[in-house]
Amino acid sequence: MRLRLPIQRRPYLLAVVVFLALCAINVALQPTFLRFGVAVSNLASFLPIALVAVGQTYVVLASDIDLSAGAIVSLVNVAVVSIIEGMGGTGASIAIGLAAGLALGVACGVFNGLCVAVLRFQPIVTTFATGIVFSGFALWVLPQAGKQVPASVYTAYAGSLLGVPTVIWILAAAAAFAAVIGRSRFYQALRATGGNIQAAYQTGLAVAGVRIGAYAISGLFASLAGLALVGETASGDPLIGGALTLSSVTAVVLGGTALSGCVGGVAGSILGAFILGLISNVIFFAQLPFEWQGLVQGVIILLALAGGVVMARGRTD
């Protein structure tokens, strides 16, 4: 029997260590880093990718992948901005816009799930194709970046509720959602499906429903990210989510979730998203020459990915 380090039992521990190390480096380079205002503004800029990564985690736990998540972010972003502007920017229009955005994200996710679980299409190619369709619709709704939401939307997003900044409320809500889901039978079925889909099916689990559910959650969180970006940028952009797809996969893997399914969790993915953001922060404040930044960032991420995978291995072997 092989000795196992504590880190191998908890794949996200490496993410915790890397996260703390990056925080320390960040404090050394940017002394204001720990100030509440700076921390909140960092959090606000990391929030969209963290949300997409949370949704992506559920799909990956079922051993699938969602390459359309970024396109859903864009589609929801432009749809919400257009609905709010089209209805005159009143309070009611904002509420309807936000609700419609969430519903749209879930609908996109369910569509992905139906293609993958019921029609039995291969997940990578399918979600790539549906991503093309979703971004096509995003361009239809709003061909160029623009339009404005009423000031109340972005002041509410940048402001506080009961003394706590809105972005922290959103993150806390996401964490609470994940905690509730994590205790549900759905989550167990999800991990069973990711571990061995054939066995899960033969045990009588509703495998197709579970996979559709995972894609629906991914769509829900992608739409939350789209809403967060409405609050952050105060306008719509049909291409805004493009880079989020692969970043979300990176964050999920950094957080110790195995792409082969079953192993991992949401907490690691949130940390993974923060790690990605902190790496850019550190590189920015280290005052590296501009042309070196991309390469250094790429190498650090590759090393962190490799480290995460190697450390997480103890769980599945």
């Binding site: 992948i65 390459l67 293609c115 029609l119 039995r120 299409f121 291969q122 990578i124 190619v125 399918t126 790539f128 194709a129 549906t130 991503g131 093309i132 369709v133 979703f134 971004s135 096509g136 619709f137 995003a138 361009l139 239809w140 061909p143 889909i197 054939q198 099916y201 495998v207 692969l246 996969v249 990176t250 893997v253 792409l259 082969s260 501009f290 042309e291 070196w292 930044q293 991309g294 390469l295 250094v296 960032q297 790429g298 190498v299 991420i301 590759l302 990915l305 490799a306 995978v309 190697v310 291995r313």
Partner: protein
């Protein structure tokens, strides 16, 4: 009759039928679409996609969730490097080719070593490598594209050689013949199918699993490098992110060509047909007088439709 149905259901047959239907449809919608001159252009563009897809095909055939997301970055990198090494001079072509192809082979090999030694999933490893290559490209270009093809490279790629077909099409055919021979007639080729079908069985049968898998990724890097050079010859100039558009289409060309993403079954001839199908589809949508978003939606839906024909996974029941 059953044999006929089986033949028609083969992915390659479907791809060939799709090619004819797309050509006829294109001709109906905009006369001149299937003219010889137009077909030559389409084949040149398909050749670029086809050569990247060749590497992607090897990686996917090798199984264990094989996939190469770094191909687009490597193409941009190769095009930039080749353009700057050639600097419009024919005398520099050979050493530019050697450096670029050697370099891209090494990039692929590093991915392959990460996959076999550290056992990092290919999707993760090549995604990380994509970031490194893109970062390296920014360092070299300093954000400004530069470099031009040697005139001879442009002529080799674009000038008609035989039957009015340009050199790039023959280079593609040569890649196809060599790759098919490698896959069907050499030990390495059999090994690729063996590790793709069942890695454990292959290892027990004495197949050098790790060496074969590492080499497959190295070859994908090499073929992406070749695509970058051909792209440079085709466009003459270097532009930023030139290769990005090839990443996911190269995977789709392989899948609609009948190679299973699970590995171990398929071949390159189908992928060549798949590349032609994709390019035809894109160009029909371009000739149709519809706005870009409509083209994109139809393209995505057609891909889903193609998945319906084949590329479905097996039932859980039975």
């Amino acid at each position: 009759m059953n044999k006929l149905i089986a033949l028609v259901k083969r992915p390659l047959s479907i791809a060939v039928i799709a090619i004819f239907m797309l050509l006829m449809g294109g001709e109906l919608l905009s006369p001149g679409f299937a003219s010889p001159r137009q077909i030559v252009t389409l084949l040149s563009i398909a050749a670029l996609l086809g050569v990247v897809a060749a590497g992607q095909n090897m990686v996917i055939l090798g199984g264990r969730e094989g996939i190469d997301l770094s191909v687009g970055g490597i193409i941009s990198f190769a095009a930039f490097l080749a353009g700057n090494l050639m600097r419009q001079s024919d005398a520099n072509i050979l050493h530019a080719l050697a450096l670029v192809l050697g370099g891209t082979f090494m990039i692929g090999l590093v991915s392959g070593l990460g996959v076999v030694i550290l056992r990092i999933p290919p999707l993760v490893m090549t995604l990380g490598m994509l970031g490194v290559v893109q970062g390296g490209l920014v360092l070299l270009t300093r954000g400004v594209p530069s470099g031009r093809a040697a005139p001879l490279l442009g002529r080799i790629v674009s000038d008609p050689v035989l039957f009015g077909l340009p050199g790039i099409v023959f280079i593609w055919i040569a890649v196809g013949v060599v790759l098919t021979l490698i896959l069907r007639r050499t030990k390495f080729g059999f090994n690729v199918y063996a590790i793709g079908a069942n890695e454990v069985a292959a290892a027990m049968a004495g197949v050098p699993v790790r060496r074969t898998r590492a080499l497959v990724f190295a070859l994908s890097g090499f073929l992406s490098g070749l695509t970058g050079i051909l792209l440079l010859g085709y466009t003459e100039y270097v532009f930023v992110g030139a290769g990005d558009q090839y990443m996911l289409p190269s995977i789709i060309a392989v899948v609609i060509g009948g190679t299973s993403l699970a590995g171990g079954s398929g071949g390159y001839v189908g992928t060549m047909a798949g590349a032609v199908v994709l390019i035809l589809l894109q160009s029909i949508l371009t000739t149709l007088n519809i706005p870009p978003f409509g083209r994109q939606i139809i393209f995505g839906l057609t891909l889903l439709g193609l998945m319906l024909l084949y590329g479905r996974q097996r039932r859980l029941r039975g």
